[in-house]
């Protein structure tokens, strides 16, 4: 995907976040966080489950070659087709080819990060094929022409009034400002599409190597529609989604919905192994699985960074992240946001395009506490910060030279006792130029980045002096 990775300006974006975004995002995350907490409290073995979940994911990525081989054989013997896509471009071509062979004119899609990752809609539309998102939130943002602001509720930043305007404009109707009515309108509009589309495209939450089964978890029922109504079902799934067997699946199904939305299970969980057996049962006559690499096998090489591939995309880390809650999903400039985005995008898109993201964190560790598969997100963030600033065996440093020089000067100065003491003497005098009362509200660069948002207390005493005084007075 390095081919098409534009620079992600997290800092610049986050300086101009419209206030409606943190408000809406915090309403959603607040609800998910309390829902999750309630579900977790019901399950005494929660921590044990997390540990097992983590162990199984670790084991699976360390044996990914074996499990993928098993998976492929099982899908083939169930009568499905397997396609391997090294890059996003490969995956797009594979899907287009299947569509062409079957004279597909319209496609219904259920929510999938893998297809967003490879910008599949754009490619289909460029080929003259209508491609419609059918998850209500995804449908809305497709009409709006924006990206998702949250993993689970992608259109949470839009008000019902804004959505009504969108519906009125695109559907040529007079849509009311009522969420229930709007959902009904979407239901009717999309129903037509489900029944007429020749091809359904989905992602997948898990791939069971044991039997070649695709597991899909959804709430609205659009996922079932996309994989039941059209004659052809194409699932585009990252190779990291493979799990060993059905017994391991029980662990992840127990972890996933509880962590994501605070449900015990999502409304619909489908277990699809190959195409339909008889026409009468319904469902597609052809089943295609596109296994997407797109940089994942390279991430696997880094023993620290590879833990990102354990992710089951629940979004819990974003829901608790103080940075994400204040900037929302757009700031992360990619299909995936929040702490998981901050550790995935730099590895997938490279630390050139996404070099700001590892720094978009306070390292408070809340994400690691809730992650159902125990990904050590702060450790990976620090690991990637080092990659950005100093470079490592996987990438050259990508931080600008001026910052690198400043940083190495600072680290030199802080390491020299006399220089450090000298600094603490002159700094208060120097800063007093900028002091207004007891506060500094207009510091020079680079401190201005802080004072733009809030004033800095003025330096009053050096800690060393204070400590000496305290020690003397308690003697």
């Amino acid at each position: 995907m390095n081919e098409t990775s534009p620079y992600i300006g997290f800092e610049e974006y986050s300086e101009h976040v419209p206030t409606s975004i943190p408000l809406a995002v915090q309403q959603a995350t607040g609800r998910f966080v309390s829902g999750r907490a309630a579900r977790v409290a019901e399950l005494p073995q929660w921590e044990e489950l997390r540990q097992i979940g983590s162990d199984i994911r670790q084991h699976t990525i360390e044996n990914m070659d074996g499990y993928l081989t098993h998976l492929e054989a099982a899908v083939l013997s169930a009568g499905g087709h397997v396609h391997w896509a090294e890059s996003g471009e490969d995956a797009r071509q594979i899907v287009l080819q299947i569509a062409k062979e079957n004279k597909v004119k319209s496609v219904v899609k259920s929510k999938s990060m893998a297809t967003e990752e490879i910008h599949l809609n754009r490619a289909l539309e460029a080929a003259g094929i209508e491609s419609l998102e059918t998850d209500l939130g995804e449908y809305i943002i497709q009409l709006a022409g924006t990206g998702p602001s949250h993993i689970i509720v992608p259109a949470v930043h839009l008000t019902k009034e804004e959505i009504a305007v969108l519906f009125s404009k695109h559907l040529g109707i007079d849509a009311p400002n009522d969420p229930i009515e709007l959902a009904r309108i979407a239901r009717e509009t999309l129903r037509e599409k489900f029944l007429s589309a020749e091809m359904g495209i989905s992602g997948g939450n898990f791939l069971i190597a044991e039997t070649g089964t695709l597991v899909m978890v959804t709430n609205e029922g659009n996922g079932r529609m996309c994989t039941t109504m059209p004659d052809i079902h194409v699932a585009v799934v990252g190779i990291d989604k493979v799990i060993p067997d059905w017994d391991s699946l029980t662990v992840f199904l127990k972890l996933l919905a509880r962590s994501a939305t605070g449900q015990k299970l999502s409304t619909y969980t489908q277990f699809i192994t190959g195409p339909r057996h008889a026409e009468g049962e319904g469902g597609p006559k052809e089943f295609h699985l596109v296994l997407l690499d797109n940089g994942r096998s390279k991430i696997l090489k880094d023993p620290v960074g590879r833990d990102v591939l354990k992710c089951i995309r629940c979004g819990a880390c974003a829901n608790v992240c103080p940075v994400y809650k204040n900037v929302g999903g757009f700031a992360y400039g990619s299909f995936i946001s929040g702490p998981i985005g901050a550790i995935l995008s730099p590895q997938m898109l490279g630390t050139q395009a996404a070099r700001e993201l590892p720094f978009a964190s306070t390292l408070c560790g809340a994400c690691a506490d809730v992650c159902p598969v125990k990904i050590p997100i702060p450790t990976i963030l620090r690991h990637l910060r080092r990659r950005v600033s100093q470079g490592d065996e996987f990438s050259k440093p990508t931080l600008s030279t001026s910052i690198r020089v400043t940083a190495s000067l600072a680290s030199f100065a802080l390491a020299q006792n006399w220089l450090y003491r000298f600094g603490t003497r002159v700094l208060p005098t120097f800063m007093s130029i900028f002091k207004r009362g007891n506060w500094i509200s207009n510091a020079p660069y680079p401190l201005s980045r802080w004072t733009k948002a809030r004033p800095l207390p003025s330096f009053t005493a050096s800690f060393r002096n204070w400590w000496k005084k305290e020690k003397d007075s308690t003697k």
Binding site: Q27, A28, R31, Q45, E48, I52, H59, N63, M64, D65, G66, L68, T69, H70, V153, A155, V156, T159, K160, I163, P179, I180, L182, A183, A186, F194, L195, E210, T211, N219, E220, G221, N222, R224, M225, T228, M229, D245, D247, T250, V251, K264, L265, T267, Y268, T269, Q270, F271, I272, T273, G274, H277, A278, E279, G280, E281, G283, L291, S297, K301
Partner: protein
Amino acid sequence: MTNPILENIRKSLGRTDQISSPQGAPLSLRPAIYQPRQPESVESEIETFLNEIKKLSGIGQKLSPDGIDFALETLITDQNIRTATVWQTPHLRQLGVTEILNSFNIKLISPNADKHEMAQCDLGITEADFLLPETGTLALYSSTEKPRAVSLLPRIHLAIVRPEILRADMHQVFAEAKNSNYLVFITGPSRTADIELTVTLGVHGPKNLYVWVII
């Protein structure tokens, strides 16, 4: 036949051994799984199940076989049902579901009907193959007698189920179901909170879910 993706994975993982069998390297044992949930008495499992259905905004009840007549009549009036489609299974046949619907002048559509026709249906009646009490979940297979669309396209889904299909934990369900080509877990009616986080039932799937446990 070499597969570049598998090659890359093997390189990244530092594999040096040759792939000896078409199945790839033999798999090491995956970590052990926790203890599955243990069943309670049938009565209390049914209670737990119905309780969960209620929490999910579904409508569940216990019913004796003689009660089906009246319950269907009530459902037909409450939900203004005109057309229905029914799974062709021995259990539903034995309960006389289609006869009862006929007696109320409900238009019956074949469960194998064309999808456009099926989409016009008010009521879809199925049974289930497994029930999970802890989560209020119905698990359904599919076959020519049990088409997938019956629990999906009509605006109301009614599942008439037997207590024998209760399973304490997903483990048992999966042990029995893993070799089937299709299985779906249904946990409550279709829902979304995508517009201003307002919970709306019946987005794409059925708006109402009725579950009758026949005892």
